[in-house]
Symmetry: C2
């Protein structure tokens, strides 16, 4: 996970969605301003980090008062590029793919799922949510016609690289990989991975450390 030549550090970028979530919560409760201390509490980080992170966006706070909630949400969304929707395609509709397809959280956060694709002919045409499973051969057409920006790979490991290649060829701009394997894509296609078994193994390490040793993390 290396860094772009941007002014905003990677570590900060990774926390902006967290701040955004807390700020939306405040906005929903009609709170107008928030201090770094309060926001830190909500986001589970410390206040110095909040101030430093927000300072990369610009000097949007008011000394003695705090930050304007609405304005800060707007600025974070602008920096994250969330001002327009990014349509998503899910490739691979096994257990995980189906769960992702049914998960409402994407839609409501600006990432509508607009296509479901699988290589298994038996799955073609099957309805999931309000979509139907399409053939992977229709991927390029779907990406072009529905302006798909993000590809989610939820296939078995052995299919992942080929799917990634097809997604890139079809013109998808970034990829989220759930398959437990390393895939490679061109440098200009942002790629992130989520590996459930890896997370458990990391927990396992700290859990055993725990009982002989001292404290690890907080989230």
């Amino acid at each position: 996970m290396a860094g772009a030549r941007s002014r905003i550090p990677d570590a900060t970028v990774a926390r902006l969605p967290l701040y955004r979530r807390s700020l939306l919560d405040l906005a929903g409760r009609r709170v107008a301003t928030v201090s770094s201390e309060q926001l830190a509490e909500m986001a589970g980080v410390n206040a110095a980090k909040v101030r430093k992170d927000l300072s990369y966006l610009g000097s949007y706070g008011t000394r003695g008062v705090g930050y304007d909630v609405q304005f800060l949400v707007f600025e974070i969304e602008r920096k994250l590029g969330l001002t327009t929707e990014s349509p998503v395609v899910i490739v691979g509709l096994g257990n995980l793919g189906q769960a992702l397809a049914n998960y409402g959280g994407f839609q409501e956060r600006g990432f509508p799922i607009v296509a479901l694709v699988d290589a298994d002919p038996a799955k073609l045409g099957q309805p999931i949510g309000d979509l139907f499973v399409e053939s992977i051969d229709d991927l390029a057409t779907a990406v072009a016609e529905r302006a798909i920006a993000v590809g989610i790979i939820a296939t078995p490991a052995q299919a992942a690289q080929e799917v990634a290649d097809r997604l890139v060829a079809a013109g998808v701009r970034s990829i989220l990989n759930f398959a437990p394997t390393v895939i490679s894509v061109p440098d200009d296609v942002p790629l992130r991975k989520v590996d459930l078994a890896t997370e458990l193994q990391i927990l396992s390490f700290y859990q055993q450390r725990e009982r002989v040793d001292v404290q690890p993390r907080a989230s």
Copy 2:
């Protein structure tokens, strides 16, 4: 995500499962030894990092030759605490929880799912895989009787903190949180989170950066 007082850096711990996966792949193909260069290629990192990481485990390589695949798997598993199984309970059986319950990847990596728990009475007794959904009131009993070590939270955000409290009270030793909210647990309970919408937002940032600017990550 702060660091334990262990000799193995957090960043290294997070990569050990990745090396393990590559090594198991090699072992399955009857490969006996591997160089840092090859392993780096497979794991998608660079060779210097591999050598540095492995050096924290001990000096297990042979100069001029490389690392013994079987032995290295064993050592990594030992350090990660994977020598015994860690039974898992999933709390919350909506889309995501059900998908996780049906996902075979946990079982085969030493994290058998032994209990499914939900607060919704309508779900009680429902079969998923080869388990039945139980009441959250039976959590403590289940944790004790089945030696459950890990709790996975797959509930809506608003229920997550209470579930976390109950898991801790029941004696679970570490927690993986899929709910899109910050939860707090005692210092001695390792906690990790996976937030799907956050991942997409991070991708969004690099994707827009992409088109005006230079290269971000590789995974």
